[in-house]
């Protein structure tokens, strides 16, 4: 499976008294087939469709549910996509994955968890809101999404028409998590797996052993604005929260769930949360180039006072963690650029060297300033690409979902869908294309 950071070897640091110890048992499959039993045999995930549909139909708000499969290289397009989730479950606790949805309120990030690699649950079905996207399993479009390399179980969900968009999103979110959990649970018997250890030393150990290395904090901004722009932390709506410090293991173990219909290219799907590349890379370099001392979950609220309050709190948390360097990633674009600027400015003014990761909205021709807000302190900027650049993707043999919805997706136009089935749209319509955790190698350069 294509995860660009997979070359990294996670190493256990052999010192006691660490904060959290997570063993991630990674079962990697490279194929997906229907079968009588849902299980992993060899390198294939077999799924029993009828059984799964029975399991998922239990919610009475669901009018109709179906699943379909899409494999890497197939001439298949999935549209409109809401969220993407990697199958996960806990083998031994405490707690369970996706706390607040699947698990209870116990802290996650310790014990043993199972990750089904090479597979993703893709939630789709009738559109909830404009800011959904598509995934192409081959062709030009497949280069711009990580989910063309996963064997996808597409969950097509139709809810009762009486539901509001907010209720609709909630049902889709919960059912997607349920299916991801179900698939992981059924894979527990797989014999072949690789174990990755995630373990950070305590501040005292850092002081004694690694004080010569700079301390890095990751400031992980997530959209929290209501009106279908929400993120959930331990099941709690982030817009009702202050910024919060989390151990990176909690995030890798499912503490953060996406509930948002932010433009597909720049949204953090649940898959991105579970496989956050900044966290993974900081882990890979921990004790070698740097000390990874924690993650601050920042909010992106919809009021200026909220943005200022959050950025002030983020700064204080980062200072308390003793950071020398902060990496900030944004979610979405437009008004969240102000959150990015405020956080960067506050941190730099406190002497913390700060790098930001963000996309650009530089217009179809690449000639427009790409940020809605700027600040001179933001002098170390990593670009994840121009979300407005035009891309033409070829026709596919099979469409999972509703092809015509491109006309109303963010990045699409009324005439995006061509007669031959190709699509001409902006990069932002492709799920994960300009994701601002820096998941892909895509980025802008001057020409």
């Amino acid at each position: 499976m294509f995860i660009p950071v997979c070359r990294i070897k996670y190493q256990e640091i052999e010192i006691g008294g660490n904060i959290m110890h997570l063993e991630l048992r990674e079962i990697t499959v490279n194929n997906l087939e229907y079968s009588e039993r849902t299980e992993v045999r060899g390198k294939t995930l077999f799924i029993n469709k009828e059984e799964i549909l029975e399991e998922l139909k239990m919610d009475e708000a669901i009018e109709d549910v179906d699943i379909d499969i899409a494999k890497p290289g197939q001439k298949v397009r999935i549209i409109p996509v809401k969220d993407v989730i990697e199958p996960r479950c806990k083998i031994s606790g405490p707690g369970n994955v996706f706390p607040g949805f699947i698990g209870g309120m116990e802290t996650v990030g310790s014990g043993v968890s199972l990750a089904l690699k090479g597979v993703a649950v893709v939630t789709c079905g009738p559109i909830v809101a404009f800011q959904e996207g598509f995934i192409d399993m081959c062709g030009v479009g497949s280069r711009f999404t990580p989910f063309s390399k996963t064997n996808n179980v597409a969950l097509l969900l139709k809810v009762k028409p009486s539901l509001t968009p907010v209720q609709h999103e909630e049902i889709v979110r919960k059912t997607g998590l349920k299916l991801a959990y179900y698939l992981a649970e059924k894979s527990k018997n797989a014999q072949e797996y690789k174990t990755s250890i995630f373990d950070l030393p305590s501040p005292r150990k850092i002081q004694n052993n690694f004080s010569n290395l700079p301390s890095f904090v990751y400031v992980y901004l997530n959209i929290s604005q209501g009106l279908l722009h929400d993120t959930y932390v331990y099941g709690k709506d982030l817009k009702t929260m202050f910024p919060v410090i989390l151990h990176p293991n909690e995030i890798l173990d499912g503490a953060i769930v996406s509930g948002n219909c932010v433009s597909a290219g720049s949204k953090n799907t649940t898959f991105h949360h579970l496989n956050n590349p900044v966290i993974k890379e900081l882990y890979a370099r921990n004790g070698k180039d740097l000390n990874f001392v924690g993650v601050v979950i920042g909010t992106e609220l919809d009021t200026l006072s909220g943005k200022i309050r959050s950025s002030e709190m983020v700064r204080e948390y980062v200072k308390m963690l003793g950071a020398d360097v902060a990496i900030i990633s944004e979610e979405g674009a437009g008004n969240p650029d102000t959150d990015l600027c405020l956080c960067c400015k506050a941190l730099e003014k406190s002497g913390i060297k700060t790098v930001v990761i963000a996309n650009e909205c530089a217009g179809e021709d690449g000639k427009t300033p790409g940020l809605a807000d700027t600040t001179p302190e933001m002098d170390a900027f990593v670009s994840t690409g121009n979300s407005c650049e035009i891309v033409v993707v070829p026709p596919m043999e099979k469409i999972i979902g509703c092809h015509e919805s491109i006309a109303v997706l963010a990045g699409g136009y009324a005439d995006s869908l061509q007669d031959d089935g190709s699509i001409k749209c902006q990069m932002m319509s492709i799920v994960g294309s300009v994701n601002e955790t820096g998941f892909l190698p895509l980025g802008c350069k001057w020409v």
């Binding site: 660009p4 950071v5 809101a129 404009f130 280069r143 509001t164 907010v166 700079p214 890095f216 209501g226 009106l227 279908l228 433009s263 590349p277 900044v278 993974k280 890379e281 180039d289 360097v325 437009g334 060297k353 700060t354 790098v355 990761i357 650009e360 909205c361 530089a362 217009g363 179809e364 021709d365 690449g366 427009t368 300033p369 790409g370 940020l371 700027t374 001179p376 170390a380 900027f381 990593v382 670009s383 121009n386 979300s387 407005c388 109303v408 997706l409 963010a410 990045g411 699409g412 009324a414 601002e436 955790t437 820096g438 998941f439 895509l442 980025g443 802008c444 350069k445 001057w446 020409v447």
Partner: protein
């Protein structure tokens, strides 16, 4: 078949003389001369220089219109596929002539053009967006290197090969952002940049901070009851059915709607098509986004003198700054001509 290339040189490189010949009008030689000879050798596999236009630097800068016209006449007969000028190194007048004639030819004949200049040449900021200006040394000692760089890039363009970034190709970028695949993912690049920044080592940001215009707030206007007020929104409220076919995001247009004959916006006559928020509440009562109802009341009560008959609407989400500026100018002119004193701009 080889591509037909026409070359442009000033009086000095064209071999007719120095400053004393700087007033020479453009003339045409049906062969490669001066730097064009070497250039022609370098691109031999793909093209040939079919002629050279020579023009005095003073003549070009003092008679731009005429110089362009003269050059165009030569070019029309020659039907070139490609046009090259210079390199001008750090020569100001020559740089401006090279940049201007390249820009003019590129636009007028719709063929690719290339020139070369030093970083501080005044032609760089003037013409970088309109032609490819290769980065060269500040004087003619760098001629061979300059021609090598210009010809390498010219060959790529003639072969229709995709160009890498301006930095990789060695030209002054045209103020255009383009997507590329870097060697490393963004997260890795960010952490490496953080380490360099911490250690005080050189690092290169991937986007220099743009500078936006600071617009001072308008001065307060006179008593409200003497003011004509207009409403304008980026909140995506449109007449029901979206007759202007406004996109749901990254808008390239704005619309206006005569609301003088309706009492207020309703779910029957208006809707939100904005792609950046849940429209449930906006669609229940579109006045929540653009308060036509309240402004009509204020007009009736005499608190404002008049509500401008048209409301103006677009979608703000992901709309480029350049487009937004254009909308502002276009709507602004219209409102100014209509004698509007106050514009209430609502966003979402």
């Amino acid at each position: 078949m080889k591509k037909r290339i026409v070359y442009y040189l000033n009086q000095f490189y064209g071999g007719i003389g120095g400053e004393d010949k700087a007033d020479t009008k453009p003339f045409f030689l049906n062969e490669a001369v001066g730097p064009a000879v070497k250039f022609s050798e370098l691109i031999d596999q793909e093209g040939e220089v079919v002629g050279t236009i020579v023009c005095g630097d003073n003549f070009y800068s003092s008679n731009m219109e005429e110089a362009r016209k003269n050059c165009l006449e030569f070019l029309k007969a020659l039907k070139p596929d490609f046009f090259v000028a210079g390199p001008a190194f750090n020569a100001g007048r020559y740089g401006i002539a090279c940049g201007d004639i390249c820009a003019f030819v590129e636009k007028g004949l719709n063929i690719p053009t290339i020139t070369g200049m030093y970083d501080e040449n005044p032609g760089v900021p003037l013409y970088r967006e309109h032609t490819i200006i290769v980065k060269v040394a500040n004087n003619a000692r760098g001629m061979n290197e300059a021609l090598r760089k210009m010809s390498t890039l010219a060959l790529k363009i003639m072969k229709n090969q995709e160009l890498f970034s301006a930095e990789d190709e060695g030209y002054f970028h045209r103020n255009i952002r383009k997507n590329f695949f870097y060697d490393e993912i963004g997260a890795v690049r960010a952490i490496e940049m953080g380490l360099k920044k911490y250690r005080g080592e050189y690092f290169k940001t991937e986007l220099e901070m743009p500078k936006f215009d600071k617009i001072p707030p308008a001065r307060a206007v006179g008593p409200l009851n003497e003011c004509k007020v207009a409403l304008c929104t980026s909140g995506g409220i449109v007449p029901k059915g979206n007759p202007d076919r406004l996109p749901v995001s990254a808008s390239d247009r704005w619309g206006k709607w005569d609301v003088s004959n309706i009492e207020k916006l309703t779910p029957e006559n208006a809707e939100s098509i904005h792609g950046g928020y849940d429209r449930t509440y906006a669609n229940l009562d579109p006045n929540r986004v653009i308060p036509v109802d309240v402004l009509k009341d204020l007009e009736k009560e005499g608190i404002i003198k008049k509500l401008h008959p048209y409301i103006y609407y677009t979608v703000g989400t992901s709309t480029s700054v350049n487009n937004a500026e254009r909308f502002g100018r276009e709507i602004g002119v219209e409102l100014k001509n209509a004698g509007v004193d106050i514009i209430i701009l609502t966003s979402t």
